[in-house]
Every structure is written in structure tokens, then in C-alpha cells.
Symmetry: C2
Subunit: 181 residues, 2 copies
DNA sequence: CTGTTCATGTAAGAAGTTACATGATTTG
DNA sequence: CAAATCATGTAACTTCTTACATGAACAG
């Protein structure tokens, strides 16, 4: 049993997902992803451009003549086959990988042996990072709220979840800092 | 400017971190990591065994004659130089990578176009996953609480933070499910 | 004596990042 | 016209996972 989806990576589905609502260039998608999916699924040009071509080769996306100023841009639109692949992915039930890699948390975990000052410094770095993350997420909230009309509420809901998550994280860090003082 | 630490990956520091409190075999470390650091820093045998050898080669760890039953096991202990490298890493201030990859959240993000039933199914999968994660974390809590005496409280603190995080996540998912009903 | 767990390792490959190269277009 | 931004792409590299191979020790 093999389908077209077998050759698609999660990155491909990010691309299809964005193309589903509107045609985009690789550059567009990168820019949009950087203040939306980036927080739980990063992508880079090194994947985007080759993958878009691959999707076109598989007939899931098609290059469209687009332009900006006088210059040609490689704008892609999703095809019917592409929509089908996206739906199939969304409907498919499977475990769904979850992964987190947090270098500072790793340090915190091992920080006891290095004394309270080192621990304090790590906690501070983490707190600053979390504060920055929350500020960044909140800065895109108005935009996400505005576009909610076009496609459903999911994108905003995911964003709000991210904010809650990082706020919980931040509060925990603050507690630990207090305990140490 | 180059130090021994340049050649060390984050995985190396996980190994040094565990060796810092006690000598261990690669197998030991994998087992321990699987119910502690795994939740924010996974490691696999494919990294552990080669990396341990590399640490030994750099003089940061040393093979110790250990045995279990009649059989020889490759038990490593940390060296003074290894402790120094670990401390240097803990003290070093640098951004510290943070990364999250959540396939189901990615689906949820794009789920609007597929209709409410698909969205409901994704939310359910996510809820079950979070409930399982929380149960697993809570199951190691007594153990983490017990060993807190040996090395400081950081390991327990990190665990408790993880529980809070996943509980926040779970609550958010439950809210979304209610909104959809 | 048979299946399971303990234990160590390697090879191949997947996935993703970084750095680099290139050049057009716009802005000041 | 110079600097910044737009835009596309590739090659090399790093990191990590998966699958496989091997065999000892132990439990029933």
C-alpha cells in the first residue's frame, strides 16, 4: 500500500497548508511561517525551494506566472491533487511526533553541581528568553485575530495556546528564582 | 580561540552531566535519560556509544572496569578535565537553542479547511497524547522526589515544570474541544 | 532450553541548518 | 548610485534516528 503521501515530509504539508488558502512564492511562505508555524515547526529555504519543486513534480502544486514589479517570481498554487493529499494527511490518525529541545533547560537540569550563582544565571537567561518569546507571540496576535475571518479560528487558537504555554513556563521560572533568593 | 568544548555536542554534555553524579554505562544513561531528560532532550544509542568513546579519547571521561554478574560492562566515570568542561558549559552564557516540533499542532493549525469533524479528531488525539504525557511524568515524580537529596532540587524542579506545561497544554485543548461542541 | 532482558555497537539514511552565490529591485 | 531588501537556489554539513547485528546472562 503506497500513496503519493509517502514521499511527502511534514515540511511538504506546511507548504501545502499555506498554499491551500492562497498561492505563494517560497519566499512568501518563509516569511509567513516565521511568525506563525515557526513556534512549533520551523522551516528553512534549504527545504522550501527544493520541496516546492518536488510538489510541482508530483502534481500537487503548480507554478504560476506571478510578478512583482517587472520581475518574475515563482509563485505556486495548490492543485486538486494537492488538496486531496492535504486532506488525507489531516484525516489520517497516527501518533504524531512531539519533540522539544531546550538547551537551557538541559543546563538547568544539571545546574545543581555548579552552585547557586550558576543556577541563578541560567534561570535569568531562560526568563529573558521566555519574556522575549511571549512579546513576539503577542505582537502577532492582532494580525492573527484580523485574518481569522478568511480561514477559520484554528491559527489564532494555536497562537493563543502558545502564549499560554510560554506564560506558564515563565511563571515557573519566576517561582524558581524566588526559591533561590 | 578554541577549547575542548568546541568539539562537544549537547549530547556530550548530557553524558557528562549524568556521569558527574555517578559512573554509568551507556546503557544506564539511556535508561535514566528516558525518564528524565527525554522530555526536553532525547538521546539514542546511536549517539551515546560513539560519544562516550569520544569523551574518553578527549580525556573527559575514562573507562572503568565494571561488571554485572560475570559479564564486563563498559562503565565510564567523569575525569577532572570532564568536570571542568561541564562547568564551563554551565557557566557559559549564550542564546541556548529552543526548539519544538509538534506534528499534531501543525495539523490543528491547518485543520480549518477540512471541517469540524477532522478538527475534532485531531483535538482528541492531542488530548490523549497530553494525558499520557502527564501520566508518565507524574509516574516518575516520586522517584525524582526521593533522589533530590543526593543532588540538588533542579531535576525535580524541571520535572514539575514539565508537568505544569503539559497541564496547561491539556487545558487549552479541552477548551478548544468545548468551543467546538 | 527457550524466550526475555541486558548490553554494545555500526551503517545507512532522513531531516534540517548554514553558508554561500547570485542578481534584481527598491529606497534614500 | 549605494545600501537595503527582495528573491531563488545549491552544496556541504550536522545532527539524530532507525534498523540491524551480535552475543551474554537470567528467568521460567
Amino acid at each position: 500500500m503506497s500513496s503519493a503521501n509517502d514521499q511527502l515530509t511534514n515540511t511538504s504539508f506546511v507548504l501545502l497548508g499555506f498554499l491551500d488558502s492562497h498561492p505563494h512564492s517560497g519566499y512568501d511562505i518563509k516569511r509567513i511561517a516565521d511568525h506563525s508555524t515557526r513556534f512549533f515547526w520551523q522551516i528553512s529555504y534549504g527545504q522550501i525551494y527544493p520541496d516546492l519543486k518536488r510538489l510541482a513534480g508530483l502534481g500537487l502544486a503548480a507554478e504560476q506566472a506571478g510578478s512583482r514589479g517587472g520581475r518574475t517570481r515563482n509563485v505556486y498554487r495548490i492543485t486538486a491533487k494537492g488538496r486531496q493529499a492535504l486532506r488525507a494527511w489531516l484525516q489520517q490518525t497516527h501518533p504524531g511526533s512531539f519533540e522539544m529541545r531546550d538547551e537551557l533547560l538541559l543546563k538547568l537540569f544539571f545546574s545543581d553541581s555548579a552552585g547557586p550563582n550558576v543556577k541563578r544565571a541560567i534561570l535569568k537567561q531562560m526568563r529573558l528568553r521566555e519574556e522575549a518569546a511571549i512579546a513576539e507571540l503577542k505582537s502577532v496576535e492582532p494580525h492573527a485575530r484580523g485574518q481569522g475571518v478568511g480561514h477559520g479560528p484554528a491559527r489564532l487558537e494555536v497562537l493563543m495556546g502558545g502564549i499560554k504555554l510560554h506564560e506558564t513556563y515563565l511563571n515557573h521560572l519566576k517561582d524558581l528564582e524566588k526559591n533561590l533568593a
